[in-house]
Symmetry: C2
Subunit: 347 residues, 2 copies
């Protein structure tokens, strides 16, 4: 295996830079072929590196400034090239690193990645995607918040990108696609959902489109790719996380109820841990920006070192899978929708 | 306690009329002060009644026709007054029953209830609301699917109605309100969310508005009322249900893993059952139509008799609480938003 070099925005996230360096340390312990460049306030980064086990000689690039988590996108971009986020993305753009990871402001990371990496040919809106656990294999869900308002063409592009991404990374042959809606009947939901369904339903689309799916279908694993706008996707993802958290807490309380339940926990501990790790949001930490000419992975802002190490693993896996040419090819094959519609109209 | 008389749409839902009558039987066993009128195909209803324990002498009103679950709203309304759903709502409208329960087509039930009950004065869009379990007390969430597209005024009305409903039914003094969004920062999300936030934030609004909340906050119980559009609310609710189902199934599998985990289950069984019942979607079955001059409760279409009995309980509780005057009063107090804005402009 060759070396994978990642640019880490050391100042992004609630507990930066500590969590970033600790997370990298955890990741490096598992995968010695990883190399990191930490970008941020070198005075704050270095003490953590000296206390780390595996990162004593890691590279640091100093950045004067950083993007705040509550800054809006235009403010963040206006701050320009002195922020740790900008410099981290620039390391990838310049070819010094293979991918960038940041736990910072999502909107700013998308904007800065878009400005430097540029969208792939034909992509109007890059999207944020992640894999989630289901009853069957993992499901790819997008968009998770990059695009609050979407039209039919955006959703169709998300479907194409999500399918190519799932094919490449999860090795699923012909990923099935569902559009998230409030019912499975054709007449339900927003107008742009019906338009997107029409395009995906077209026999010529080459897509394995399965129709509308509902919220309950996401975790059933009924389809491989769930496509939605960034507002709905973000709310759905966070609602799922919240529900999982609620149940985990209720479960903990239940096991603490009495001597017998405590004994039960001891007996079932290994099985419970396996179950928990399958659902652990930290294990699923690391969302990917699709549709850009570069790999950017967004970690949860509030994660711990285990979660951050997983976001690093996602980035390293993506580098290894080289999914970008697959996504670009799928987009080209499908062609721009306006071209297709023009062709149809001309028939 | 006085008698509560409920009109049940016996033909609504996946397993009608069997589930409806079995559910009513379960409900009547727990609460003998309930009386039912079953509306639907009397030839199909009567055999179930004769096999029931508590409903041998229940009333039946024959209906020739029924609303299909996949029918769109205009088709359902065009079928007119011969459907079981229409006739069930009419029983309440005529004052023969206190509330209607249906597990049929949600859109049709809303349209038919709206046509007969009429919206309360000042309500532009009635909404569907339900209570959900959280880490703390229950949260009221609305809209859950009646209004796919919403504007700021709709959301503000949902907030007013949801707060009055929660105050009345859960006996919460000054229910706190959150608007569901993709982040807590002021500049996030759709334009109409920011507009609604401005109105609710107004010191004169008299509302206990807490700001934007995210998907993770729903189950934390951070606020008493979560307000959103019907599309997002429906997806969030179903995603939460799907997540709960996934975890419950994983838990079952975990307990079946080995002799030790099976033993653990035996020891923890009572605690696990209590936990499950708190999350059981059947226990939370029964969504309420708010903003109408009549009580209509929607049961899940695919529920079983336990779930249906809970929807009946919701309807009976609502009759007992007499929440409608409270909602009407809150709406009047707030006044129409256009009036308020006109007043402000004239200041």
């Amino acid at each position: 295996m060759s070396i994978t070099r990642l640019a880490l925005d050391a100042m992004g996230g609630d507990n930066a830079p500590g969590i970033v360096i600790k997370g990298a340390d955890v990741a490096k312990a598992k995968n010695p072929d990883l190399e990191f460049v930490f970008i941020g306030d070198s005075e704050r980064i270095k003490p953590y590196l000296s206390r780390s086990i595996h990162l004593k000689n890691a590279s640091v690039i100093h950045a004067e400034d950083k993007v705040e988590s509550d800054e809006n996108v235009s403010q963040a971009v206006r701050k320009g090239k002195q922020t740790s986020m900008w410099k981290a993305v620039a390391e990838v753009k310049a070819g010094h690193c293979d991918a960038v990871v940041s736990a910072g402001n999502t909107g700013a990371l998308m904007a800065i990645s878009k400005l430097q990496f540029r969208p792939m040919e034909g992509v109007t809106r890059p999207a944020i995607a992640t894999f989630l656990p289901t009853e069957k294999r993992q499901v790819c869900m997008l968009d998770l918040g990059a695009n609050i308002e979407c039209d039919a063409e955006n959703l169709v592009q998300f479907a194409i990108m999500g399918a190519a991404f799932t094919r490449s990374v999860l090795d699923v042959k012909d990923p099935s696609i569902g559009l998230l809606n409030v019912g499975e009947e054709d007449q339900k939901g927003h107008e742009y959902l019906r338009e997107a369904a029409d395009i995906l339903n077209d026999a010529d689309s080459g897509m394995n489109y399965q129709g509308f799916v509902e919220g309950t279908d996401i975790t059933k694993g009924e389809v491989d790719v769930v496509v939605t706008d960034g507002f709905t996707g973000n709310v759905a993802l966070k609602t799922a996380e919240g529900t999982a958290m609620l149940i985990t807490n209720l479960l903990k309380t239940a096991f603490k109820e009495s001597f017998l339940t405590k004994l039960a926990y001891l007996l079932a501990r290994a099985a419970m841990r396996r179950m928990r790790s399958r659902l652990d949001p930290r294990v699923h930490n690391g969302a990917v920006f699709l549709g850009l000419n570069g790999i950017a992975v967004k970690s949860h802002g509030g994660t711990d070192e285990i979660g951050y190490a997983n976001a690093i693993k996602v980035a390293a896996d993506l580098v290894e899978h080289g999914f970008m040419p697959d996504v670009q090819k799928a987009l080209q094959k499908f062609g721009s929708i306006s071209d297709r519609q023009a062709d149809k109209a001309g028939d």
